[in-house]
């Protein structure tokens, strides 16, 4: 039996090749993502341990939010007095304080440098400290406010050179400085692509930090003193605001921060790998089903010769196992190559990855193998069972086309699956449980797939109608697409999945865009919204300068940060002058007094008030990263407003509780009667020293937000392309198998005078009709998903629903074109058939 299986496998290897290619692609994605993240973890572990070499202990301000340095800027700086105290601790050989804060770089042409992701940091440079992680490769150390050292990566990428003058905007308006040196960060040209602008320590404190204080201290130990012992000794002399970490702890902390980001990237890629594999399963299922249908006689003969059902089933499963193994191994290997591709993807985002070995863990291999084999075998189970049910008498019967079985059972099962899927999806969205959402999507897809043969014939018939008007090739193609609704449906369903996801996120995107328009119209009173690229905080001097412009009636500066609020947990809080708020936002106060929001008072949106179960006058515990927990009183409850967010405190309350007193957004209202040109000129004058701040009126703001939504959509759509390509492979495979199955028909058609050209057109029509059917299914399902998403995200600000008409049309057109492309190979094969051979094939 096994030998027969093996022979069969070899005989059908071409037909199985495409199917295994689909699994291979999915597995390559899995493998690539794992290899990449493993390699990067290793690289960053190495990087940080190199950087921290020589540092025994690090001292920094304590954060109320735990250890992660994501909130680094919310740590209170360490005063010089602490540095002196630490330097006197027994076993300390040297201590150095450093500054590191986000800043803005102004290029020599006066334009602000816009980073695609990695931060721009203003840092200190200590000339002769062994603890300094920057090494000068060219030029000299910076001295004073007007000399700066720049990392080699930025010098390269921005085409800078020693002697050029750049600007930095930190705590104060533009500071111009001359590049005097080029530095490397540890062993690499930069810290993961971050732009580093280094000044001498006092200048760095003045420009970016706090004079007389440090963001962190690095301590070197005397020989023979262990890091842990020194840490304990230092901790004993620290004030309660500060903490000490051994070099191992801080390496782990720094590395963890980056790995956190990588983990997200990994999960992101794995989701797309999962989608691709799911689509691949359809391909495997379809291929095996068709091969078994074509082999009915052969299988029946085996049964007649005494093979048991179990043996037949096992032989099919062994076949799928072999396919799974081959594609897993291929996918694993291809993934190692793909990891390099992902790396350049990160590079394209401007994230410089330090060079390092490609790390292939045993785990990656095992995961690929297990997932690939499981996926393939699972997809082949149903076809295998079908094979086992072939009766011995079928060996004798003329194997005609499968007769139409009743679709009633199918309808019931499909409807049930769909119902479960929708239920899981909706409740998953309501609870915010992503796993449940995913499961719901999978069940919905399966449900639609199972049920779609029921309406495949009429829908496909309708889609094919225009073609059948044109000529006999179209009519025959349409007939072929309609003749086996199950096959057509499964093939189309594979395409449906990718396109449904595209349609869903497009629906979400178009709804989000419409919501922005609506939010601006209903919530924004300001004429201009001012912010930096990526909403990086900027100096409060900007708002001060704007306030001096007589044409501007109101300048409201928003500072934004996070705080833990009652049981709501970590939330987004804005600090703003309450009086100015009333002018720049169309904010409806429901109760309390927003304008007179006082110290330790909090204004809460209607939704958040409901979530917290509070009303005006209630007390809520609020934990700030710097100052820890205080009880706040609810001073006002306001109607939901996109720009107000969930929580507002007064500007002075905010300033009292955070370290980094910078504005994120400034909203400006012009005086009545000022023309747009006048008011814009006034804003431009006010921001003369802040080229990093963008000026957007309401329309520009809407457009900018829309563009951002679009760019996210494009990335996701791009990654979904993989699953769409796999689905197209599925169409190729189905058509190729159909060509084999219909060899005699094709021969007959050619014998009675069908031209090759017409034969190709016939196959193309079948392909296009199937593809468009899949796209149509995908669109309907996807818009449904999108609608559920939009409904679930109503409170997150997606208040409007909009159909992505343009995208839907694009998808349908692309699907049709894809159908044409997919048909090319099978059509060529069919056209190449020798008429006589085709007729002679029994």
């Amino acid at each position: 039996m096994l030998r027969a299986t093996w022979r069969g496998l070899l005989a059908r290897k071409l037909r199985l090749l495409l199917a295994s290619f689909s699994v291979l692609l999915g597995i390559a994605f899995v493998s690539g993502a794992l290899v990449l993240t493993d390699s990067l973890s290793r690289v960053f572990d190495n990087l940080f341990s190199t950087i921290n070499q020589g540092t025994a202990v690090t001292v920094q301000g304590r954060s109320a939010f735990g250890s992660s340095s994501f909130e680094g800027s919310d740590r209170e700086p360490v005063p010089q007095s602490v540095l002196q105290a630490v330097s006197k601790v027994d076993g300390v050989s040297s201590v150095v304080g450093s500054v590191s804060r986000p800043t803005t770089l102004l290029l020599p042409n006066g334009k602000a440098f816009k980073s695609k992701g990695p931060p721009v940091l203003g840092v200190s440079y200590h000339v002769s400290s062994p603890l300094e992680s920057l090494t000068i490769v060219r030029g000299s150390a910076p001295v004073g406010l007007d000399q700066v050292l720049v990392d080699a990566n930025t010098i390269d990428k921005q085409h800078l050179a020693i002697g050029q003058r750049i600007g930095v905007i930190g705590n104060r308006p533009k500071q111009v400085a001359t590049i005097v040196g080029i530095a490397r960060f540890g062993p690499t040209n930069s810290l993961a692509g971050a732009t580093l602008l280094a000044f001498d320590p006092p200048s760095a404190q003045q420009l970016f930090g706090t004079p007389g204080a440090w963001d962190s201290l690095s301590v070197a130990s005397d020989p023979g003193v262990s890091d842990q012992a020194l840490r304990d000794r230092i901790a004993a002399v620290l004030p309660k605001n500060d903490e000490a970490l051994t070099s191992a702890q801080s390496t782990a902390q720094q590395s963890d921060d980056i790995k956190q980001g990588l983990r997200f990237f990994n999960i992101f890629l794995q989701v797309f790998a999962g989608v691709a594999l799911f689509v691949g399963m359809f391909l495997i299922f379809n291929t095996f089903s068709m091969l078994i249908a074509q082999r009915t006689r052969e299988l029946a003969l085996m049964r007649a010769l005494g093979a048991s059902r179990g043996q037949v089933m096992r032989s099919v499963l062994v076949e799928s196992l072999a396919v799974g193994l081959v594609s897993s191994l291929g996918g694993f290997a291809a993934g190692v190559g793909l990891a390099v591709g992902f790396r350049s993807l990160l590079n394209a985002f401007g994230i410089e990855i330090p060079k390092g070995a490609t790390v292939v863990e045993l785990r990656t291999f095992v995961v690929c193998l297990v997932v690939g084999v499981l996926v393939t075998v699972a997809a082949a189970v149903i076809p295998a069972r079908r094979a086992a049910r072939v009766a011995p008498v079928q060996a004798m019967r003329e194997s005609g086309p499968a007769e139409d079985k009743s679709l009633v059972g199918r309808t019931i099962v499909g409807a049930l699956l769909l119902a479960v899927g929708v239920l899981a999806l909706v409740s998953g969205l309501a609870q915010g449980t992503l796993a449940l959402v995913g499961l719901g999507a999978v069940f919905s897809f399966l449900g639609v797939t199972v049920i779609s043969p029921v309406f495949a014939r009429p829908v496909v018939g309708l889609l094919g109608l225009p073609f059948s008007q044109v000529g006999v090739a179209g009519r025959l193609g349409r007939g072929n697409a309609m003749r086996n609704p199950r096959r057509t449906s499964t093939t189309a369903a594979a395409l449906m999945i990718g396109l449904a996801l595209v349609a869903a996120i497009s629906t979400l995107g178009s709804s989000a865009k419409k919501s922005v328009v609506a939010a601006v119209a209903t919530s924004l009173g300001a004429d201009y919204v001012l912010h930096t690229d990526q909403f990086m905080p900027f100096s409060q001097d900007a708002a001060t300068a704007l306030a001096k412009q007589p044409q501007l009636a109101e300048v409201a500066a928003f500072t934004q940060g996070q705080a833990k609020i009652g049981k709501a947990g970590r939330s987004f809080v804005q600090g703003v002058d309450p009086k100015a708020l009333a002018t720049v936002l169309k904010l409806k106060v429901l109760s309390g007094n927003l304008v007179r929001l006082g110290q330790d008072q909090l204004a809460v949106s209607k939704t958040e008030a409901k979530n917290l179960g509070v009303k005006v006058g209630d007390r809520v515990p609020v934990t700030w990263a710097r100052t820890g927990q205080h009880d706040f009183t609810v001073g006002a409850v306001f109607d939901n407003n996109q720009f107000a967010g969930g929580y507002i405190v007064s500007a002075s309350t905010y300033a009292a509780n955070v370290t980094d007193k910078k504005d994120s957004v400034v909203a400006v209202k012009a005086v009545a009667g000022a023309t747009p040109a006048e008011s814009r000129a006034a804003v431009e004058r006010g921001l003369a020293d802040f080229p990093n701040i963008q000026i957007e009126d309401q329309a520009e703001f809407v457009k900018k937000q829309g563009d951002q939504i679009d760019s996210v959509l494009n990335i996701i759509t791009g990654l979904l392309l993989l699953s769409i390509v796999i689905a197209m492979l599925g169409i190729i495979n189905t058509l190729a198998l159909s060509v084999v199955e219909r060899t005699r028909e094709l021969g007959l058609l050619r014998a009675v005078g069908l031209q090759r050209r017409q034969l190709k057109r016939m196959i193309r029509v079948e392909s296009v009709v199937i593809a468009v059917f899949g796209a149509l299914l995908g669109t309907v399902v996807g818009v449904g998903f999108g609608y559920a998403l939009v409904t679930a995200l109503h409170d997150q600000g997606i208040t409007e629903f909009a159909l992505p008409i343009k995208r839907i049309v694009e998808v349908l057109v692309i699907a049709a074109l894809g159908g044409v492309v997919a048909a090319a190979l099978p059509a060529r094969r069919a056209a190449k058939l020798k008429v006589l051979d085709a007729i002679a094939t029994a």
């Binding site: 000529g471 058609l749 050619r750 009675v752 090759r756």
Partner: protein, 248 residues
């Protein structure tokens, strides 16, 4: 035979064809010359492996020849490209195979008009009706092939072959898979198309009774035309075959 002034429906001159190369080469046609006059039904007979099917395929433009010339209604077939030869098959040649003549997805009626549909031509309604009437299946036209008997299917196939008013219809053992009654139906159908409508039919058969329906029989052996007989009857054919077998 035929008067030299009229063009024959089919003219083959010294047609040679062999399969394979070198030692294993099989000569299927060793130089066959044949004229098929218009409006006649010609039967091709001969032992198995004598090259009947090969001849038929070559004459019908389904297969290429090594050397020689073949004219259909005065048009040279040898050397035509796939496109022209396909068009020739579509417009001027009808073909009936032993089995699997119909597309399962099309109804009987659609199968009959298939060559016209392929050509994008409107059927000559009177002729179409005539052909359909002759099949005796006017009321079964909307049925699929799977719903018809073998004999009915072959009659549909014959109708399909005739619907374009071709120069010649080739039929390779059209009754080979049928019982004698169904076979007789098909054969009288073919005979009447020649006798009544002046169509030209070339048919391969093993069956002397079938050959009896023809106006003329040619005998093939080892890839050569060895004999022919006008106005055959089943008995005469049978007798000739016996003689033939004795001589081998």
């Amino acid at each position: 035979m035929t008067s030299p002034t009229t063009v024959p429906a089919v003219r083959a001159v010294d047609v040679r064809k062999s399969y394979g190369k070198g030692e294993t080469a099989v000569t299927a046609l060793a130089g066959v010359s044949l004229d098929v006059p218009k409006g006649q039904m010609t039967a091709v007979m001969g032992p198995s492996g004598s090259g009947k099917s090969t001849l038929m395929h070559c004459l019908a433009g389904l297969d290429s020849v090594d050397t020689g010339s073949i004219e259909i209604g005065g048009t040279q077939v040898v050397g035509l490209g796939d496109k022209q030869i396909t068009q020739l098959r579509r417009d001027r040649i009808g073909f009936v195979f032993q089995q699997f003549n119909l597309l399962p997805t099309l109804t009987a009626g659609e199968n009959i008009s298939l060559p016209l549909d392929i050509a994008g031509k409107k059927p000559d309604q009177a002729w179409y009706d005539e052909v359909v009437r002759a099949t005796g299946l006017s009321d079964r036209l909307s049925h699929r092939p799977s719903e018809l008997s073998g004999g009915q299917q072959q009659r549909v196939a014959c109708a399909r072959a005739l619907v374009t008013k071709p120069d010649v219809v080739f039929a390779d053992e059209p009754t080979g898979n049928l019982d004698s009654r169904s076979g007789a139906e098909v054969l009288s159908f073919l005979q009447s198309t020649a006798r009544v409508h002046g169509q030209t039919v070339v048919m391969v058969t093993h069956d002397p009774n079938a050959a009896g329906y023809a106006d003329r029989v040619v005998f093939l052996a080892d890839g050569l035309l060895v004999d022919e007989m006008d106005a055959p009857t089943a008995e005469k054919v049978l007798e000739r075959m016996k003689r033939f077998e004795a001589s081998v």
